[in-house]
């Protein structure tokens, strides 16, 4: 469903130097699979996700979503992908229903089926208590749920989430991750980046650890953990920084 092969993305910095944000990353996410993309700040996680979301163009390599290449078929990718970021970008003055309606119309969805879809998401994602309240009066957790609903309004088979639990408390993060479990069970391919390793240690089907724009380790939890007691230890080992203190 999501396929990244030898992906390279270079930026030109303001001083003229070339920044190699992503440097030959390869991985895949199958339908019904949740993959955790892990890495320190600046490792290239967000850049990788943004290339997948067609927000950035790859320097070389390929990235595909549901068979559509991000370079040659960006519209196809956008129809198949839901994107959630740490900064929800949920407009304060609009309610969850209005936000879903606006974004549903950006997908060209007609009014009547869109209204049905919104009702479905309000019920499925537990938004009923605050669906008509301006988003500016919602908690961080509620805003992130609205953001997830917005990403799902066109029913995409693939979901990309960039540090979605960053601004959430423990309860908000747990609720969001439970929703992701449901979406995975629904057959969606989910690619999730996060710093909070303990949250996803027992949730993801596979992990991809990137460091300096390159894949440092990847595989099933058993493969990545190896002899290490927990994901955090395995993460630091993959980064060549020894065990977590």
């Amino acid at each position: 469903m999501i396929e990244v092969v030898d992906l390279v993305k270079h930026y030109r910095a303001s001083d003229g130097s070339v920044v190699r944000a992503v440097d030959g990353v390869s991985f895949a996410v199958a339908p019904g699979e949740m993959v955790g993309l892990l890495g320190a700040n600046g490792a290239g996680k967000t850049t990788t996700l943004r290339v997948l979301a067609t927000l950035l163009k790859p320097t070389s390599g390929t990235a595909r979503v549901a068979g559509c290449d991000v370079r040659t078929e960006p519209l196809g990718v956008r129809r198949q992908l839901g994107y959630v970021s740490a900064t929800t970008g949920v407009p304060d003055r609009l309610s969850a229903r209005e936000i879903m309606r606006s974004y549903g119309r950006l997908h060209g969805l007609d009014e009547k089926p869109l209204a049905g879809r919104i009702d479905q998401l309000v019920s499925a994602l537990g938004l009923a208590d605050f669906a008509d309240r301006p988003a500016g009066r919602l908690s961080s957790g509620q805003r992130q749920r609205v953001s997830l609903a917005r990403a799902l309004v066109h029913d995409p088979p693939a979901l990309v989430l960039d540090e979605p639990t960053n601004a959430l408390d423990v309860v908000g993060a747990r609720d969001l991750l439970r929703l992701l479990d449901v979406l995975r069970g629904d057959g969606r391919a989910i690619l999730l980046s996060t710093h909070r390793l303990h949250e996803i240690e027992h949730r993801c089907d596979r992990f991809v650890i990137i460091d300096g724009g390159r894949v440092a380790a990847q595989g099933t939890p058993a493969e990545v953990l190896g002899p290490h007691a927990c994901l955090e230890e395995a993460f630091f080992a993959a980064l060549g920084q020894g065990a977590a203190s």
Binding site: T46, R50, A53, S102, Y103, R105, L106, P113, A124, D186
Partner: protein, 272 residues
């Protein structure tokens, strides 16, 4: 919660035409404009020309000359009010989305970037046009100009032309230099509209200000009265040519702005 609840029904949804997404963005942007500060700014835009007209009328012992009143209203509304209104509404088209963190969410939708620009364009034209037309109405009432109705119609038409053309002009700095769009747009307004627009050469043919002045002269039947040196500052072609030129300029500038925006890439660090 069940999995079946999250998935949509198997039936594919009927699709709206592309302008449906532009209207969705326009509605969304219009809601943003309904804040207290923006409404206050709009009220100032409505009242300011009337206040100027009132002050001038009070100094004129025999009442306000009709031609002078029209010239003043033209400078105040289709020029000043429209320029300022469009600067405020059109320039932040991309910068606002980057700052609010909504850019990524709009951009990952099919046609999202185009809808963002054209929806914001529609909003800028409707909002500024409405403010400017109310400003003309109030100013004409205050100025007590004879036969105000035809003047209202003509100045309103000039407002519409000004908004359509200049919002498209400001779309270019909005997409090329989103973080400096306001400064760049002021520079564009001064250099293109008010410097190049007054140079009697080929270069002024591509400005909205030349077309607006020419329409004003044509519709007020001032052409014969104009001194020769002033005639150099207007285009002798009929109104339909001026309107056609603005339409061509508008479409060309919007097409370029959309094309640039489709290819723009903003690194994550730009979204602060």
């Amino acid at each position: 919660m069940t999995t079946a609840q999250v998935s949509a029904t198997a039936e594919p949804s009927p699709r709206l035409p592309p302008c449906g997404s532009w209207l969705a963005v326009a509605g969304f942007q219009m809601r943003r404009l309904l804040s207290r500060q923006r409404l206050l700014l709009a009220a100032l835009g409505v009242v300011f020309p009337a206040a100027v007209m009132l002050a001038v009328r009070r100094t004129a012992a025999d009442g306000l000359d009709r031609d002078l009143a029209v010239t003043m209203l033209y400078a105040l509304v289709p020029e000043a009010v429209c320029m300022l209104g469009l600067l405020v509404t059109m320039c932040p088209a991309v910068a606002d989305e980057l700052e609010r963190g909504t850019w990524v969410h709009v951009s990952v939708r099919p046609g999202g970037r185009r809808a963002l620009l054209l929806g914001t364009y529609l909003t800028a034209v409707i909002w500024t046009g409405a403010v400017a037309i109310l400003a003309i109405l109030l100013a004409l009432l205050v100025a007590r100009v004879p036969q105000p109705l035809p003047l209202f119609g003509m100045l309103s038409a000039l407002v519409v032309v000004s908004c359509l053309g200049r919002a498209a002009l400001f779309a270019l700095p909005a997409v090329i230099l989103p973080k400096r769009a306001l400064v760049a747009s002021v520079a564009v307004a001064l250099v293109v509209e008010y410097l190049a627009g007054f140079i009697p050469a080929v270069i002024n043919q591509a400005t909205v200000s030349l077309r607006l002045r020419s329409l004003l002269v044509e519709w007020m039947r001032w052409r014969q009265q104009l001194p020769v040196e002033m005639q150099l500052l207007v285009d002798p072609q009929p109104a339909v040519v001026q309107l056609g030129a603005v339409a061509v300029l508008t479409i060309a500038m919007l097409a370029v702005a959309v094309a640039i925006l489709e290819y723009r890439q903003f690194p994550p660090s730009d979204e602060i």
